[in-house]
Symmetry: C2
Subunit: 516 residues, 2 copies
């Protein structure tokens, strides 16, 4: 469905202090969505701002960019434009004048977000990406940085500080490389502002989610350093010591060298150090060792409020389940076949629990992989198991940890052939994940071949075993010839290996007379 | 469109002497098609065949397989089944009896193809894949091998020899490894049969296209040896000396070792040598140094006769153009945008001809890449240029040579960012292809960013130059602000590098008053 032109196109504009961005989402409201286009301009709206407000030059740059965005929306036949402006406009003495100018000249009514609203929308984005019940969200932008508190999956409160990477750089940094004194001045200002909010205090066990250009770039620098094997940063974990390492690098090097740093966008290399100091200070203040990065933020929050406008609160209760379904739906998955494979895989998993001893977490991985196993047919039937893996690595599965994403991708990779191997992903995996992969892949492959005819010919499976033998009895209306044949040839060996038993496959329905 | 459930599903069954195969094609007749599923069983119908005909066991295996295929068609909701049988049934004394049994028990009316029809359909498959005006087609199957002659893009005549890989193996080979005497016996039989057809004689300049399991596997062995960088064998070139090398390997090694040979299907490792000797003999007789391999064959020929039934002759006149369009259509390409990029890229190419001195062949590559440049958005918007390359490498572009496929894939890879590099593909490329890639990528990228707004804002481009400067004047109704801005930032440098001149971009339409 998503590859047709049905549905809505929604543009979200975010006129920030440093960057103006527009994303175009293609959505069937309430059903599925995907990013269709993105355009980004470094406008530096805050540059040259005085007590009189935004500078003429900065306003001209912003108007020019917004006009381009508007034309872009026209050509994409966008159904709704949701345009927002944040701290630079909010804090400028001539902010209202500027908004009126945008309306008169371009016909766009920018919604000016308050600091708390900015924190709210960033949090909405995060809550639809991360399974975050209670904790904090930190969004470091160009002009401001927001900290929000989440309780019971909802935004509770938030505060915007004038601690954006560009704002701090413009105010305190003059030298290249940055001097000791400048760093101290930035740190002193961060401390001064954080001190004003009492609820930002040590909570070493809390979950902290981070977003915005600074944190995304710090995550990218770290990912490049680690040869991180996934292609998205959904759920990437950034430790205090990795942040410290990056801060050191950024302090020591002149701009020219910073620009070459792998993972860092060159048009952010002049302001990122100030942002990194904010991240460091917030982590220190919370005494939190690791921040989980989110790809979602303000723009996605604004979009998701629209997408989920019919819900009581615009957050998907189970973000993991929705993210799996969203990916499957985008590629028009074959629901009947997929659901039967899920069912059979689940039945096998549950009955064999005394052998494998896994629980709900592993079952969820198996189910997600069963849902996504044929994803790769969108690329080509040949080698579609490899394409499924590649699609998951590239799209990411918001809500799942990097380890879980890797395991789901690997399970789809081995759902029909090949000897399960964790090669390339060991940095994300745990000690016993090799065995987990083998066992879950064996169950998924068996379920897949027991549904090879795509007719739900096998209604159910009963598993019994002793020390040497695993006996699987298929319950079927008619002799499931295709499924027995295919499962014997393509799956039985892997199941035997995974559970260290000889596998016997039989059917309650007897063979038709012709098959003597 | 192809990713919805619209259109027809067509199953083609090919009951051969060694293998029974069924492919399910998803097609919008006359518009586009793709392979949706494939199932393959090694039935060895010819095994145990005597003067009385097919053995009971072989017939039981075939019936069982065909029954599975039939059920498979039911579950896929196939609209048409086109079932065929070939040499084993044709030559068996009880062939008619077997066909009747299949009809009675399964309800499938297998069409029994004559040797000439077999050659005809294989040739139809090839003619829709390879731009073959005049030449020969060699199809080495399990039971028979067909040679066909093509004149003016049409099947002219064909002959089926009882020279299939399985037939020869069953008749002449008893030892493992194969003995000298057995090889000589096989070769003598090949010579004897080829001698009966006078038109198989030296034509060193003719084009010979090869297909069937033996040739496909020999190509795969060679591709594995060469670390071939494409993932399909459309147009792979197999030289006489590479075939010789493989024959030597297969002769020397016992079955157990042959089974491990990279690229060789293990269930073919016992019969491939006999097939390879046929290929060698035919190449020798024609005195042709290189055979071009085709992925299409009998099944595709039967399918394409259906797909093109409304044409005077069921062969696409320009297979290259159709294969590019087929791929674009499968992924529901954005026709208006793509066509404007093609137009602008073509205009640039034509005007700059005195500088680059390329001709129609290079223009076709540029046009194909322009048509396919956004293909990768089906995977994700982020990095879609990389996904476009990957999709082309995986799907292949029938009709184009491996070099051309690599260049088209690389052009899509560099259509929006990155420094064009031929790394990984040099084995397929020619000496000056690096420069070709740079220049065509520069033109494609410029065309893409001049159509960034997707509104055909730039009607046309005029290029003039001197030794130092390349001046590009955009003709537009209104000042094309997006396009100028984006082209300046994202394409101008690459064009400057490719044509070694400073690039000046300007527009006939003046800026709007607000842009001072």
């Amino acid at each position: 469905m998503m590859l047709t032109n049905q549905g809505q196109r929604i543009a979200i504009i975010d006129l920030g202090s440093n960057t103006a961005r527009m994303v175009i989402m293609h959505a069937l409201p309430g059903f599925a969505y995907r990013l269709e286009d993105e355009i980004r301009e470094v406008v530096r709206l805050r540059e040259g701002m005085t007590e009189a407000g935004l500078s003429e030059e900065a306003m001209a740059r912003a108007l020019s960019t917004l006009r381009l965005f508007k034309r872009f929306c026209d050509s994409w036949h966008v159904d709704h434009i949701l345009p927002t402006a944040t701290s630079a406009v909010r804090e400028a003495a001539n902010g209202r004048y500027f908004l009126q100018q945008v309306k008169n000249e371009i016909g766009l009514s920018l919604r000016l977000l308050s600091g708390e609203e900015e924190a709210y929308y960033a949090t909405l984005g995060v809550l639809n990406e991360q399974p975050l019940a209670n904790g904090f969200v930190l969004d470091i932008g160009g002009g401001s940085a927001q900290v929000a508190e989440v309780e019971n999956h909802r935004f509770q409160r938030g505060h915007a500080f004038t601690l954006g990477a560009l704002a701090l750089t413009l105010r305190f940094i003059r030298h290249d490389p940055v001097t000791e004194a400048e760093v101290t001045a930035v740190q002193r200002e961060i401390t001064r502002q954080l001190d004003t909010i009492e609820w930002i205090k040590p909570q070493p066990k809390a979950l902290l989610v981070g977003l915005g250009g600074t944190i995304r770039n710090l995550a990218q620098i770290t990912a490049a350093r680690q040869a991180y094997p996934l292609n998205t940063l959904h759920g990437f974990r950034l430790s205090r010591s990795e942040v410290e390492k990056s801060v050191q690098l950024l302090r020591e090097r002149p701009l020219r060298e910073r620009q070459k740093l792998r993972g860092l966008s060159s048009d952010r290399s002049d302001i990122i150090l100030a942002g990194a100091l904010v991240l460091q200070a917030v982590m220190n203040r919370f005494q939190i060792e690791t921040i989980v990065t989110s790809r979602n933020g303000l723009r996605e929050g604004v979009f998701l409020e629209h997408f989920w406008h019919h819900l009581e609160y615009p957050v998907m209760a189970d973000v993991r389940r929705f993210s799996v379904l969203n990916l499957a739906r985008i590629y028009n998955y074959q629901k009947a076949h997929v659901n039967h494979v899920r069912y059979l895989a689940g039945r096998l998993f549950d009955q064999l629990a005394p052998l494998h001893k896994y629980g709900a977490a592993e079952r969820e991985l198996l189910d997600a992989a069963a849902l996504l196993h044929d994803l790769g047919t969108v690329i080509s039937y040949n080698d579609h198991h490899k394409h499924s893996q590649m699609l998951i690595i590239n799209s990411g599965l918001p809500g799942f940890t990097p380890r879980e994403q890797a395991l789901i991708a690997l399970l789809t990779r081995y759902h029909r052939k090949g000897t399960p191997s964790v090669a390339g992903f060991t940095s994300l995996l745990q000690r016993r994940d090799k065995e987990l992969l083998l066992r879950l892949a064996a169950l998924l492959r068996l379920a897949e071949f027991l549904e090879r005819g795509r007719t739900a010919a096998v209604d159910d499976i009963t598993a019994v075993w002793d020390k040497h033998t695993l006996r699987l009895t298929l319950i079927a209306d008619h002799y499931p010839a295709v499924e027995l044949w295919e499962a014997e040839r393509n799956a039985a060996d892997l199941v035997a290996q995974a559970f260290n038993r000889t596998v016997i496959l039989q059917s309650t329905a007897a063979p038709d007379s012709w098959l003597t």
